[in-house]
Symmetry: none
Subunit: 325 residues, 3 copies
């Protein structure tokens, strides 16, 4: 589809959240189709997890986004989908890869939303593909468990914060979940949630550095719990780490089933977004250092630094590998 | 893309207007891409005309719309695009053809919006394809001229109208043209206009027969004049004809460039929409006969009857033809 | 236009904010058109104030909203517009008056956004109409000044609040102002702001009473300052008063021009919304009493009570008057 002014920031760069939403819609279609391809109970595929995603090059207003999706692995109860996004300038014909994302879906029965159904197995061209898929499956399963455990944190408000502190840029929004946010089962599309998360993370980043900012990457996102139509969701973001030219923002999504259900507010999703600041010419700008005040903030800064260095090391290893080939 | 609750009426049938909008977006992308495929002035393809389009089967919420487009003819200054829409129920895997539409686009220069550029010619597999395309091109050109001439009519309000008269169901809406309604050139997408036209036609039809209604077909739509960002457009509809099971509604679009231009309000588009009334089981229902009062209304009713009988005769001829094959 | 699922809450009642947005769009169109009706500098009408508005009967999904607008007074630099909203059930044909609203607009030059232009005078059928209009003009001018003065208040967060306290239900959302929120001048439409205010007020009300709630009325809203594209706006609401069957919520809008402007966050709008709680059959329900804790909360409760009793007295006076006629 063509990118519109509403999909982009003032500088004309399409929001990472818009792209994440398109990716998730493509993933939901292909995996729902696959899970219903054999006779049996009808089901809808629900997003369980998105692997770490890099935004390789910015997309602009007027460009056409081409989204393609492929199923790359199936376990007994889950589907791995690989989605690629290309941006195409239809005036010049130039095409660029914008994103490569990996998503995990789980089929839920249309009759009983709490029942996870079985996934029809796919055929692999080579035995190694199945083995590698199984390895990815085991890894993400472990990571999902871990995130669930450290997920109790809350963002407390700060009165009169100093510039460049954590409290200064932290932000939250509330959103009432309407019908067009939802799947056939009446639960929020993962893509809608990710778009709101990117919106909050972008406001945190812009408040911190007061320049034009764009999403550079999103760490793995786990969808721990479904969110129902009619809930109010609170999406909160706080900065955890800054390098010379990037900012890491942690985002939480809490759901509040405040009408006609006796349930308490619960944590539904959490993730780390990385943003960079761009000059008017599109060059990366230096970012003001985050001022940490409390022990918790200092600890989270160090953890963020760890993730940053790990990603940097991985990228260098990949570059050396491709240089050697 | 997946059809959402907002794309549909209360009974869950997707609005014809939503489908027309998707068709036009696909047509605009493929023809803009084609017209920029040779070095030269960059341009944007603007919709000039949509040929008569039948809605073959209704699409429902939760189904996925697959839209494919192909260039079938090029004249010196225009492109003919054939767009097909399939609806796919991803739970059952069932696919149906929903629409086949033919659209004509004209390339406008990005630098000078009043300059029509030349279209790179396409290659035809067989000589007959080119000849048939040329015939279609000549026919539509003639029809465009004719429509332009009879386009001066206005819809006047009626005080205390009787049920089933023309005045009883006639309706109009106004819409302020915003940035996300527009192309790169700052003119309204043809698809946005068609969606609003379908909305008004649907209200006229529902007011007349007070049941669930769906778009059955749209007669050829000619886009006589561009509409600029910041205009107020008035979309008005009145019923012109009823058969036993269908209603024909004429829709006008008038643009009012009320800021920063000295221009008068002008007629930008007009078209005929045909609606049918459906029971809760999706079966066609009889439609109350339209009561015509003035001479003009009686004349328009007869003209509508002419179009109705002509379409019916064509369809029967086609059915006999395919029965004989 | 037809009311869609997204325009309404779970019970199918259209959000007051959707109606306020349509009212403002109609007002902006008619007053912009009027202010450009004489040769001179082109301009756009900006919303300065909305008078107190009662929601007389709820509108539902599938109904058609008919909005009509008329200019009722012009001063040298402002226009008074009266907007009426009727809801029409197109299946039964039943029509009801939903809203009557009065709005004040000011023409701003398209060339220089800080220049207020002169308004072409309208003709009055009777001299009394002009005198009454002038009286309304003077009254609202006074009220605008007063609100501006008491407008410094902020909503502070509360940790672990008790149910039914002010802190328990208070809510805020942030919104990044995008292109389709804005007029030709690049400033937020008043209607967009009102829709967000109603959204926050509705969440406050629902959090307090945990039932289906609808907007009953909005007190006069003054638009003190324009909000520019690219700003982040924070819309915050807190409950100030409860009667047996209604809740009053105060809503603030603060704008944060955080990119490329050296300006501080400022208060742009504030207003009081009144909500009622409805049973599944649409009958008003009793509302839990608001628990006030601080001196400020007690003072605001008393002020809210004053407004409530004043409105009640006015309504009774009107009913007696119409009974005597």
């Amino acid at each position: 589809r063509i990118m519109r002014p509403d999909d982009a920031n003032i500088a004309g760069n399409v929001h990472g959240g818009t792209i994440l939403k398109m990716i998730e819609e493509a993933g939901a279609i292909i995996s729902t189709r696959h899970c219903n391809s054999q006779a049996g109970e009808p089901c809808v595929a629900a997003l369980a997890r998105v692997e770490r995603t890099d935004f390789l090059s910015p997309m602009c207003i007027g460009e056409v986004a081409n989204v393609s999706a492929e199923i790359t692995y199936t376990s007994r109860h889950s589907v791995e989908v690989q989605v690629n996004v290309m941006s195409e300038n239809i005036l010049t014909g130039a095409k660029k890869v914008t994103n490569k994302a990996t998503l995990w879906y789980v089929p839920l029965s249309l009759k009983n939303v709490n029942k996870v159904l079985e996934v029809p197995p796919i055929q692999y061209a080579r035995k190694e593909q199945e083995d590698e898929g199984k390895k990815r499956y085991e890894e993400q399963k472990l990571d999902r468990l871990e995130t669930k455990q450290r997920n109790g944190d809350v963002i407390l408000p700060v009165i009169n914060p100093e510039p460049h502190t954590v409290g200064y840029s932290q932000s939250s929004l509330i959103h009432l979940v309407g019908p067009s946010d939802c799947t056939l089962l009446g639960f929020v599309h993962g893509g809608v949630t990710m778009k709101l998360m990117d919106e909050v993370a972008g406001i945190v980043a812009a408040r911190h550095c007061k320049t034009n900012i764009v999403t550079a990457s999103v760490d793995a996102i786990n969808f721990h719990e479904k969110i129902k139509k009619g809930c109010v969701i609170t999406v909160s973001g706080r900065m955890t780490f800054t390098s010379n030219k990037s900012m890491e923002i942690e985002v939480f999504v809490d759901a509040d089933p405040f009408v006609d259900e006796p349930r308490e507010r619960y944590r539904a999703v959490s993730a780390f977004f990385t943003y960079v600041s761009l000059s008017k010419e599109g060059k990366p700008l230096p970012v003001p250092q985050l001022l940490t005040e409390t022990e918790d903030e200092k600890r989270r800064f160090e953890e963020g630094k760890g993730r940053y260095l790990q990603t940097k090391a991985k990228r260098q290893a990949q570059m050396q590998q491709s240089a050697q080939q």
